[in-house]
């Protein structure tokens, strides 16, 4: 009983919060509702017994990704409402809805009870992290490694982009030198 109540509560709240994210004119509201929606999605994982994935959802999406978004938003005035300059609301609405419908048809239409099957059955006695680990390191080892290499490349790229002038200290350079460099 508790599970069902929680499921419907979480569903309504998640949809409502993501609607706020889309429709709000205020960055702060959009960001807060997106983050809280992510927390509630972690709730679904907990309801289905996937504790590990739920916590990973919390740590990665709520703790890291959304916080980075928030850090990006430090550079805006978040208390102001945004004026969107849409040329035509009708165009936006028609395009948005049709693209959404197309996506749903593309991804959801092939799913019917006959085609759904478990591609990698979890070990019956394994605990949550163990089950994830077993699947990840046997059946899906190659995609896992590819993703790891991709993340490594992204990290190196980030370090190179950000670390170009890292060995120069701004506090130890004269003001004139800094200004001259900026002019160049």
């Amino acid at each position: 009983m508790f599970e069902q109540i929680a499921f419907y509560l979480f569903s309504i709240l998640t949809i409502g919060l993501f609607l706020v994210t889309v429709f709000s004119n205020n960055i702060l509201y959009a960001m807060t509702s997106l983050a809280s929606g992510m927390v509630l999605i972690a709730g679904f994982f907990f309801l289905n017994g996937a504790d590990f994935l739920g916590v990973v959802q919390l740590i990665v999406y709520v703790g890291a990704v959304m916080a980075l978004y928030a850090f990006g938003m430090m550079f805006f005035n978040v208390t102001k409402t945004i004026k969107e300059n849409n040329t035509s609301n009708v165009t936006v609405f028609v395009l948005g809805v049709s693209i959404a419908l197309l996506m749903v048809l593309m991804f959801a239409a092939p799913i019917s009870p006959e085609v759904i099957f478990v591609s990698a059955a979890p070990e019956p006695n394994a605990t949550n992290p163990e089950a994830v680990g077993l699947v990840l390191f046997t059946k899906y080892l190659v995609p896992f490694e590819v993703a790891a290499v991709m993340l490594l490349i992204a990290m190196i790229g980030g370090i190179i982009l950000a670390g170009k002038k890292m060995d120069q200290s701004l506090t130890k350079t004269d003001d004139e030198n800094i200004i001259q460099k900026d002019i160049k």
Binding site: D51, V55, L58, I59, G63, A64, A70, F71, T79, P129
Partner: protein, 336 residues
């Protein structure tokens, strides 16, 4: 309703009340310890040994005028303190606090209820606590962004940078003990260290222990790393515009987090609630938690703040490489 549900509800109420009260008591202890270390007296006039100062401060906080700045985003402004307090308490729900006990049948209404040791016995307790503390960064973050104040914005920028960076260190440092024990459950950690002081994980993983403590200080916003509200630089950071009860909720959240980190350090590295010789387990845990809490105050009295760039330097150039090396070595040892 079955006995466990009633017991869990009782436990939730108990934890809420006790930890909120302990937060008040924590401020008293902090003021006293800091005072003694600076050859002062601390609160001494209200009640015996100044103990009722907590009550006086509580009354002051509750009755103070609740000010919301004119240009602040009122909804988010009032939401932020709730997030801090709530995440701190939710994190506590996966931490073992007292031994399990059954309320005697003779009591009306709640007789026979089983009060569990852990409120939510998820089998990945460590990760859950860390995840909840990670979500706790939204309190300071939103508070700073909603209050239309430059110091608040600076405070929340520092929140994002500091918490994000030190989450990495906390996670990596806990990973090594997790590999040794082979489980994410705090109960398994406790059971792995029942063989007396010699079996504590701190002897196997001293580097992980130190890294965890340092990162814990940073995540609870304690002194060498309390850049979020560093008075000398950014007035009060994210709490600049807060007053009264809302400010108090930030405080309660911070102290609850301090308790959580202390309990985690005690359970993961220092034998949890296993008996030490003739000292019973619950007392041993209490003593360990008290020691870690005292350590936080002690460090606050002894060491100066560090600069933000030093904070980042420490995290990414010192602690994270150390943690990774520690994990690699642990992995090799565990494999052999």
């Amino acid at each position: 309703m079955d006995a466990l549900v009633v017991g869990t509800i009782i436990k939730i109420v108990l934890v809420l009340l006790i930890v909120s009260a302990l937060a008040g008591f924590g401020t008293y202890i902090e003021r006293k310890v800091l005072a003694f270390m600076q050859r002062r007296l601390g609160p001494a006039h209200v009640g015996p040994f100044g103990l009722l100062q907590i009550a006086a401060d509580g009354i002051k906080l509750f009755t103070k005028e609740d000010i919301i700045p004119q240009h602040a985003n009122k909804f988010i402004f009032s939401l932020a303190p709730v997030i801090t307090a709530a995440t701190a308490f939710i994190a506590l729900s996966a931490v073992p606090l007292f031994p399990t006990f059954v309320i005697p049948e003779s009591l009306p209404l709640i007789g026979g209820a089983i009060v569990p040791s852990i409120i939510a016995d998820v089998n990945i307790g460590v990760l859950f606590v860390l995840g909840m503390m990670a979500a706790g960064l939204y309190g300071p973050l939103l508070a700073g962004m909603a209050q239309a104040n430059k110091w608040g914005i600076l405070g929340s920028a520092r929140t994002a940078v500091q918490f994000l960076s030190y989450e990495v260190v906390t996670g990596l440092s806990v990973l090594a003990p997790i590999m040794v024990v082979g489980s994410l459950s705090l109960l398994d950690f406790n059971n792995a260290q029942t063989g007396g002081v010699g079996s504590w994980l701190i002897w196997q993983q001293p580097i992980a222990f130190i890294l965890f403590l340092i990162a814990g200080f940073a995540e609870t916003n304690r002194t060498p790393f309390d850049l979020l509200e560093h008075e000398a630089e950014i007035i009060s950071g994210y709490v600049t515009e807060y007053s009264g009860l809302r400010w108090g909720m930030f405080f309660i959240g911070e102290y609850a987090n301090m308790f959580t980190i202390s309990i985690l350090a005690a359970v993961i590295f220092c034998g949890g609630y296993g008996d030490i010789g003739f000292v019973p387990g619950w007392l041993a845990l209490l003593l360990k938690v008290t020691f870690f809490f005292f350590l936080m105050l002690w460090v606050r009295a002894s060491w100066p703040h560090i600069r933000p760039d030093q904070l980042m330097w420490l995290c990414w150039k010192v602690l994270m490489p150390l943690a990774v090396i520690n994990i690699v070595i642990t992995g090799i040892v565990v494999m052999i």
